[in-house]
């Protein structure tokens, strides 16, 4: 099979029938491009660089070993993230799956908190401008402070752009749990970012014009 045929007929490929060279080629094309995304996610759930690197390395070794279970043309990124997450859960045996019922915030309360804040009162269009002056360092700190499962839901949804269904598969939990984790993550984050903005001081219109 030529490289072009490989590309055109991905969905009909049976990986078990490929030669070792073809299998390697397909793995390079389908799996390796997701290295940065996997590393980025691994860094966000591990406390050290070494642990993150080990996790990513083991993910790729496992993915290659079980590559015949992957269906070419389907979402390889989601498949790799699921492997990484499984390894992470196994590695951290003290990792506790959260109980089925997840506490829901009052959905409306967060909006009152935001719109009643001092910082919101100081700008013309709080719903559009409130978070504009957040520094990347503050965002990183606020996300890192989130409980791991909330942080994961947020990163998988907003940074890696997985659907709720894909996140549920990766994290091995129901979609409703994904939704509530995401909701909680974003609401905690919003509160924290409003706090940061207020600590930094109210933004004046002149300040904003300088941006």
């Amino acid at each position: 099979m030529t490289e072009n045929q490989l590309k055109e007929n991905k969905e009909s490929i049976d990986i078990e029938e490929l030669s070792p060279e073809e299998k390697q080629e397909l793995f390079k094309e389908e799996a390796l491009p997701h290295l940065n995304a996997l590393y980025n996610y691994a860094m966000s759930i591990n406390s050290s660089r070494e642990d993150a690197e080990d996790l990513v390395q083991d993910t790729f070794l496992r993915a290659y070993r079980f590559f015949h279970q992957y269906t070419p043309g389907t979402n390889c990124k989601a498949w790799l993230f699921t492997i990484l997450r499984n390894l992470y859960n196994t590695r951290y045996k003290n990792y506790k799956k959260s109980p089925g019922k997840v506490h829901y915030d009052d959905y409306e309360e967060i909006y009152n908190f935001i719109l009643d804040s001092e910082i919101a009162a100081s700008i013309d269009d709080p719903e559009k401008e409130l978070f504009d002056n957040i520094l990347p360092e503050e965002m990183v700190e606020a996300i890192n402070d989130l409980p791991e499962e909330f942080r994961s839901a947020l990163i998988l949804a907003d940074i890696e752009e997985f659907s709720y269904k894909e996140i549920a598969e990766i994290m091995d939990c129901p979609i409703g749990t994904v939704m509530s984790r995401l909701h909680r993550a974003r609401n905690i984050l919003k509160k924290k970012l409003v706090d940061y903005a207020e600590e930094r001081g109210i933004v004046t219109p002149e300040d904003r014009e300088d941006d």
Partner: protein, 75 residues
């Protein structure tokens, strides 16, 4: 589904921004946002907040030695 109120709408705003709603849920949220200035404001907060998270979150690249190590072991 009977007409959505603000309390119900608040639950659906994030899934709506995430493009996870379909059918009647989606159209009910859209109808409610169109008619309710408060929820329109909340929707704008959610939409803008998601954009800010994406924009301000810095991602890291895998170090070269890791890429090399992985490819050396596998291939």
């Amino acid at each position: 589904m009977t007409s959505m109120n603000c309390k119900q709408s608040a639950r659906y705003l994030q899934p709506y921004v995430d493009k996870e709603l379909q059918g009647s849920e989606k159209s009910e949220v859209e109808k409610h946002i169109e008619n309710c200035p408060i929820c329109r404001k909340r929707f704008k907060i959610e939409k803008h907040f998601k954009a800010v998270v994406v924009k301000k979150t810095q991602t890291v690249k895998a170090p070269k030695h890791l890429r090399k190590k992985i490819t050396t072991i596998i291939f």
